[in-house]
């Protein structure tokens, strides 16, 4: 099993989730994040004091998938999350040793 972590633009969340569901992904977990990278932040001004905000709002997805789904999950995210503009984000893949469903105690592939 693998864990796919994707960092995407917030307004792409629903589109990506729908595409993944269509692919057969049964679940995923989402966290609000802030990203630093090539995409520039912005400047806020308060009573004349300029304040550079270097971080950009991002959404972090974590999706545990069985090995055979990994490539299709990565491709789907790649397709749906891309806008072609700087800051579209990243996909990272990790090996996962164990998965358990808390409700039932199911292990591994069963648990996803």
């Amino acid at each position: 099993m693998k864990l796919v972590m994707a960092i995407i633009k917030p307004f792409k969340l629903d589109e990506v989730r729908e595409a993944l569901t269509a692919l057969g992904v049964q679940g995923l977990t989402v966290t609000e994040a802030r990203g630093f990278g090539r995409q520039k932040g912005h400047t806020e001004i308060y009573r004349g004091a300029e304040y550079a905000v270097n971080f950009v709002p991002k959404i972090k997805l974590e999706i545990a998938v069985s090995n055979d789904l990994v490539e299709r999950v990565v491709d789907t995210i790649l397709k749906t999350a891309a806008t072609g503009r700087i800051g579209d984000g990243k996909i990272f893949v990790f090996d996962m040793m164990q998965a358990v469903r808390i409700r039932t105690g199911d292990r591994n592939e069963e648990a996803l």
Partner: protein, 437 residues
């Protein structure tokens, strides 16, 4: 509130005479007017609204989230402290007969303020109402100071500082400008609703505090962005609405003068807000909500001494001047001089108050006061501007010296600043054991 001296010299005798002649036979006594009383009860509520929740939110929205409760606490606690101190001694010092600098002790613990009491400064309303109305001014003035030292003063130090300042600075200055026989009032200084007594007084004390306490850790390298401008705008809006009680209430009557004061207030405020907004738009590229709200407050401050003395056109000019100049004071000037007046108590209140006090000398006019002699420069009486400068200077010097002494004493005893840890983790938790999650 109205300078009675001038009023006496002009419209007031007539009014008093008329009041006596018409003599409505209420059980309240012959001179009380229920319309005036209704308006002054309302004005008192409006001015209290300015501090809580108005000023509390205006300031609370501008600090970081971890300090919002502590900042609001400052306004709330000052409201309570001043109420009790005003009852005990403040009102007596400010508004009873005494000498040119201090009143007497005849209203110590409000002794004698029963159902028949009337203060000659407010002959048509019960003294209890006048005392309450003036109390709300005494409340907001020290509360304004707190903007300058946001994010770093100990709460215990604040309790002491505010209490001493009220008794040693606010009450005497109010007496000098407005009290019976007060020195500055008798010298002809015009201050309709508190340009010197409230705003210059608070702003200068604020600057002294900012200098004595020193900068926040990291200032100006680390940014301190406001955590919630929604709160700030609610506050600015309530300040605006409440200010009708402040300025139009300073007529101490529901009369034409109150109407003129309301019109001037509204016009100067809007003009200042737009002036700040357009100045910022030009200089910084974007008009900001904090900017327009700050401009509104600057306009309210500047029109305060002028409100019952000037025509709408004068108010328009005062507003524009205040908006543009306070914008520069709170941005360029502050940055150039490097002091950390965190929420611009000095940049808005002292600078705005000075602009207003000076321009009152320019635009005050017989057409509004009903005086028979020229009032301001616009009437041909250029000397009034000099008189105004005197009022400003005396207030600044007295205020700065006494504030400095009070701070020095507290610093040597209790200490003024919170620890660096509390400053970093937030005053809400460190001082009050509470947080907004």
């Amino acid at each position: 509130m109205i300078r009675l001296i001038l009023r006496h010299a002009a419209i007031a005798p007539l009014a008093l005479l008329a009041a006596c002649l018409s003599a409505p036979a209420w059980a309240d006594g012959p001179t009380l007017d229920r319309g005036d009383t209704a308006w002054m009860l309302t004005s008192t509520a409006l001015v209290l609204l300015m501090t809580i929740p108005g000023l509390a939110l205006f300031y609370g929205g501008m600090v970081r989230k971890m300090n919002v409760l502590a900042t609001i606490m400052q306004s709330f606690a000052v409201t309570c402290l001043v109420t009790v101190l005003w009852m005990v001694i403040g009102y007596s010092i400010a508004f009873t007969e005494g000498n040119a600098f201090f009143g007497g002790l005849s209203r110590f613990f409000l002794a004698g303020m029963g159902t028949t009491a009337v203060n000659t400064l407010a002959p048509t309303i019960p003294e209890s109402v006048y005392m309450c109305f003036q109390m709300t001014f005494a409340i907001i003035t020290p509360a304004l100071i707190a903007g300058s030292f946001a994010d770093r003063m100990k709460f215990s130090a604040l309790v002491w500082f505010m209490s001493l300042w009220l008794v040693l600075v606010y009450s005497p200055v109010a007496h000098m400008v407005w009290g019976p026989g007060g020195w500055l009032g008798s010298s002809g200084v015009l201050d309709y609703a508190g340009g010197t007594v409230v705003h210059i007084n608070a702003g200068v004390a604020g600057l002294v505090c900012a200098l004595v306490l020193g900068k926040r850790h990291g200032y100006p390298k680390v940014p301190f962005p406001p955590h919630n401008l929604v709160l700030t705008v609610i506050g600015a809006s309530l300040l605006w609405v409440g200010w009708f009680g402040f300025n139009a209430g300073s007529a101490v009557a529901a009369d034409v003068r109150a109407g003129m004061a309301m019109a001037s207030t509204q016009i100067a405020t809007a003009a200042a807000a737009l002036a700040w907004m357009f100045a910022e738009w030009l200089v910084k590229g974007k008009p900001s909500l904090l900017g327009i709200a700050s401009g509104a407050v600057a306009g309210l401050v500047a029109v305060t001494p002028a409100s019952g003395f000037v025509l709408p056109s004068g108010a328009l000019v005062i507003g524009i001047a205040a908006g543009v100049l306070c914008f520069f004071a709170s941005t360029s000037l502050k940055n150039a001089l490097g002091y950390d007046d965190s929420l611009d108590a000095f940049g808005v209140h002292a600078i705005g108050g000075i602009i207003g006090a000076l321009l009152t000398g320019v635009f005050a006019t017989m057409a509004v006061t009903g005086a028979t002699d020229p009032v301001g420069w616009i009437d041909g009486h250029a000397g009034q501007v000099i008189t105004q400068i005197k009022g400003i200077a005396v207030t600044i010097v007295y205020d700065a010296i006494v504030s400095l002494v009070i701070l020095w004493v507290i610093d040597k005893t209790l200490g003024l600043r919170v620890s660096e840890d509390i400053e970093r983790e937030g005053l809400d938790l460190g001082l009050h054991g509470e947080v907004v999650p």
